[in-house]
Amino acid sequence: MKGAPLTLFALPDQKAETNHLALDVPLLGSLILTHSPDGEIRGLKDFAPQDRPPVAIPFFAFRIMVGIGLLMFALIAVSWWLRARHRLFDSVWFQRAAMAIAPLGFVAVLAGWTTTEVGRQPWTVYGLMRTTESVTPALTGASALVSLLAYMAVYLIIFPAGVMIMARLARNGPTGETAMAPVEAGRASAPVEIELRHGGES
């Protein structure tokens, strides 16, 4: 398709090969990908149906990733504006917004990963090997399920523990413990067994 638009939002309908409720910016898709407003972009319809990925997942994952990125840029722009007006350090609403946006980086990374991994389907090696052909023959569905459950069990222990510890470090703030321990005679000397000195807790 020549002069393709950039679709900001839509509800893709894979069966009907169309987008519902599409919000398009004309020509911008071609401009971004080919640096020319009438450049040609090969759409999904140019590929055989069995060579297409499931559309909805990468469609939304990509927009979540880019949207979060734009949100972060907006936050930076606001911080410059506040800084110029000497209000950066006492605008509580801005600091709350910065805190709220912090975890979104992880969401953006996961969404980006989802975009590439689902978007490359059904290929493992493009044009040469399909995902179904690259599965380990010995790995049965039951084994794959067991290993997935094992991963989940481990991360259900490790991840909440990590979040809890990070939350505690953030809550206590930069007290007591300095970032760098003194270095004596070429050897760093900060004990593994650091007493974390913070308000009330031992």
Partner: protein
């Protein structure tokens, strides 16, 4: 250009990389297991401090081994990794517990005992899984064409259980040797006692594997016991016996570094023994190093990057060991 054979170079890199991994992560996994047997918190803190600055550097060799196998010997990777799916999975999950324990045990004091157990059991499970993988590798896999054709639990055999238990003692011995080198007083004395126990276990294990392997495979028996190989290869077991004797003396006397160096020598000889038995196979009894290798241009391409990378790894590894040289004390350490 296309007649140039990079397989010997890659064999050397992979062989050395896996050996560095076994010895280096071996001793800190061993310290992790002995950590679980330590009677009090001060001892445990000292043992943790003895490996805290270097353990994660040691595990980079595991990454090099895995990626090197994928890139330089893709056919071997495609057969071995599926065949050892569960031991490798269990090993990695155990290493997760062990890895976070370094940080979590003192940042999450309410659950310190939980993370201490995670550290000790994580170390033991990772070691046992590696031993199972080694045994299954020596026994060989069921292969059809260019794929593993067995079941996911084929790795579990009496022989692999033996190598799993033997490796627990082996890494325990390396860990005890490291603790003798890095600690003093009561912790060191305990390491000497535990080291002698581990050495006994290692010798029983190595002897059993050395008898069992040629009985399993006539070709290996032929390689070791035919004339004149019997004479040429005899230094391997003789040296192993002498080194074992030296390690026992070093553990019993007052030597500080002898036990660790001797334990490494014992691992070197065992590793050499396995290499002699299996050469030139990388997928034992099915594919040689040359048959499993990627194309010469791929291997050459990878070699360029690797030859820049290896000196960097050696430099920072050596540097970190140099910075943290000397005895570890309980009241100071790295973090």
């Amino acid at each position: 250009m296309d007649t140039l054979d990079f397989v010997p170079v890659w064999t050397l890199i992979m062989g050395a990389g896996i050996f560095f991994y076994v010895v280096l992560d071996g001793f800190d996994l061993g310290v992790g297991m002995l950590f679980g047997l330590a009677p009090d918190t001060p001892s445990r803190n000292i043992m943790m401090n003895a490996i805290a600055p270097i353990w994660d550097g040691n595990e980079t060799w595991l990454v090099l081994g895995g990626v090197g196998l994928l890139a330089a010997f893709p056919l071997a990777f495609a057969i071995i990794i599926p065949a050892l799916y569960f031991p490798i999975l269990v090993m990695l999950l155990a290493l997760v517990f062990r890895g976070v324990a370094f940080e979590f045990r003192f940042r999450d004091r309410e659950h310190k005992s939980f993370w201490d157990h995670g550290f000790a059991y994580g170390s033991a499970v990772a070691t046992f899984a590696q031993g199972l993988a080694l045994g299954a590798f020596i026994q060989g896999f069921k292969v059809e064409g260019r794929a593993f054709a067995g079941g996911v639990f084929d790795f579990l055999t009496p022989f692999s259980l033996l190598t799993g238990i033997a490796l627990l003692f082996g890494y325990g011995l390396l860990g005890a040797g490291w603790l003798v080198l890095k600690t003093e007083g009561e912790v060191q004395a305990r390491a000497r006692r535990q080291g002698r126990l581990c050495l006994t276990g290692v010798l029983v294990g190595v002897a059993a594997v050395s008898i069992w392997t040629p009985l399993m495979n006539a070709e290996i028996a032929q390689r070791w016991f035919s004339w004149p190989n019997l004479l040429i290869l005899s230094p391997v077991p003789i040296l192993a016996a002498l080194v074992a004797f030296g390690v026992w003396r070093a553990l019993s006397g007052s030597a500080q570094s002898g036990a660790f160096i001797g334990a490494i020598a014992l691992f070197t000889l065992s590793y050499t023994g396995i290499a002699i038995s299996l050469w030139p196979m990388i997928v034992p009894y099915h594919y040689t190093l040359w048959q499993a290798a990627s194309s010469p241009s791929t291997q050459a391409f990878l070699l360029i990057g690797t030859l820049f990378l290896l000196p960097v790894i050696f430099t920072y590894t050596g540097w970190s060991y140099w910075v943290f040289r000397g005895k570890v004390r309980g009241d100071q350490g790295y973090h």
